[in-house]
Symmetry: C2
Subunit: 357 residues, 2 copies
């Protein structure tokens, strides 16, 4: 049976503020090319999962945006009563497909990843789908390009499938975001891969895992499955969210389950996690600067400048990110970008600034 | 005879870009308080020189702004065909007053200085006016607050007038902008004062100086004097500017003349030369930051932020100036602000950016 894509559109994209806003997070922005990241994600997987086999899971507040950008049929759009985390979103998607396509293999794709090598991506998904059909929970591990401390890592063991460069491995364990020394040792060892947040599994297999690790949640999902296509569908979905914990699929399932396989990705991958992604995706000039929009600079090194309008003039600085987007300006040191969430929390507490989130 | 104020409104205020623009330079901006610097300059001197004894000298392009902000009578406004430097502006003002108020003492005040201690200022001007009436060229020396390398310095000698703290001195010589070591030795010596660019002299005395040091220019001024009040006034003024060199009064006269006295100013003075003036005029917070407008910051030290609209978020940086004004953003290291003129030159060469000057 052909797989079914589940595209998770729920991210908040905070680290892309101020371009990314609460009402227009990064997955709906045209950051690279003339299509949004969500549109690109949908296009990318179409040879395996055409439009009618794609389910968009999104918080209700983004419903209009998803409808405008993706034009899904009603049965291909699942609206979360509110944004939570990946475990609830994946759970309701699985419960929904259990009603409409029981036993189908679902390909879980966050909407905000950038992958350009489409054929390699599709080969990796095909391999993962074969393993998933045998009852495995399959994740994608990305060979680390740098000792990044912002990702979780997958510790992989012996090869269990694939050929050539595209291989599948037993998973020894999941490791949370490491400190810099640990990250460097991971990269050196070659046995640690970035946890990409993409997964492939059969609907019944992931529901079994929920049964084991989150039995109450699984029970609510069961009621939702029986309600799909009836008048009770929406109220059953609400009930799931009333009691669903805000927890990631990694914590909820992957770190506990044993039937896990990692496919070692051969494709390029960027989760566009912050403004630094812009520097990775665009070749810097000879001073190391990456510029989008109108910028005049003098004596400037290693900066990222993004401006949607007007002019940005930069003088005598280095290692900065300068973003102008609509009514907001961000000036940050590159290596402090990780703290932007704390800055946004501060903004949320400031009645004057709140409206700019 | 009561003195007559000549208010020079011709500066370009480039170092205040992007708040200051070609069409709206800093002397017309409400940078401090609800009146523009030019309005404040006019108000400040009124007890000595009421409105009807104030002459505004301004490039024609700012005529509408001066009329709107100052509402001068036609005879109190002198429009330069184009902006030059201080020697031509002062020359035509003197030639104009030679026709309307021969022998009057003129108080030359740049429109873009910030002085808050009005009574002390007026006392200093009164002392200067007395000395000017005796035929001296009088300048104001400001006791240096720091070894600034951005100002010219006046080397002063023995006291020739005044009393208490307010004294007048023979001028030993003018010194151009010094290097940092020289600036420090100037400040230590106590005999070097900042050249403020404010002057007091009799109209006939400054015209005599022009006669001696710029005889051709003086001849053109003479023709303008005879033309004042006639149909030929504008064409005579144009002729002056056709041959007037773009030269400062310091180079043209002060550095060469001998009958020069410096009044040691007892008032506060700031020429609002750049964004750093904002930090001097407003008390920094405990992290050393000075903020105008809506700014959210985290882990930020010693920065100046000025925003006219929206929000500016600053993260993990120090020693920066961040300005958002209308359609432009400036991000500069504090100690590189001196190079802003070069940056603006670059902008002038860029067809896309030129419009933002």
């Amino acid at each position: 049976m052909k797989p079914y894509a589940v595209i998770l559109c729920g991210g908040r994209g905070e680290r892309f503020w101020p371009k990314s806003r609460r009402r227009q997070p990064k997955q709906f922005m045209r950051l690279f090319g003339d299509k949004s990241l969500t549109q690109q994600t949908s296009e990318r997987v179409k040879p395996l999962c055409p439009s009618e086999r794609q389910l968009f899971v999104t918080p209700a507040e983004f419903a209009a945006t998803v409808r405008r950008q993706l034009r899904p049929k009603p049965e291909n759009l699942l609206l979360e009563p509110e944004g939570r985390n990946t475990a609830p979103a994946i759970g309701v998607a699985a419960a929904y497909l259990a009603a409409t396509h029981p036993g189908v293999t679902m390909v879980v794709l966050p909407a905000d990843h950038l992958i350009k090598q489409r054929l390699r991506f599709l080969s990796s998904v095909r391999l993962a789908a074969r393993l998933a059909q045998e009852g495995m929970l399959v994740c994608f591990g990305i060979p680390p390009a740098r000792p990044d401390t912002g990702y979780g890592y997958i510790h992989v063991g012996r090869k269990v499938g694939g050929r050539g460069r595209l291989t599948a491995h037993k998973v020894v364990g999941f490791r949370e975001k490491p400190d810099p020394d640990t990250a460097r040792s991971y990269v050196r060892s070659g046995n640690y891969l970035w946890n990409s947040g993409m997964f492939v599994w059969r609907v019944d297999v992931i529901l079994e895992a929920f049964e084991r690790f989150m039995p109450e949640f699984r029970a609510a999902l069961g009621e939702f499955t029986s309600a799909v296509g009836t008048r009770r569908q929406n109220s059953a979905l609400k009930k799931v969210y009333e009691q669903a914990p805000s927890i990631s699929i990694d914590y909820a399932v992957m770190e506990k389950a044993h039937n896990i396989i990692a496919v070692r990705a051969t494709f390029d991958w960027d989760d566009v996690g912050s403004w630094l992604a812009l520097a990775r995706q665009k070749r810097p000039d000879k001073s190391g600067n990456v510029v989008n929009g109108l910028c005049v600079s003098r004596d400037v090194q290693n900066c990222i400048v993004d401006s949607d309008t007007g002019v940005v003039a930069v003088l005598g600085v280095e290692d900065l990110v300068v973003v102008r987007s609509k009514d907001a300006v961000l000036v940050a040191r590159r290596d402090k970008l990780g703290e932007i969430k704390e800055l946004l929390k501060q903004m949320a507490k400031n009645p004057d600034a709140r409206g700019f989130l």
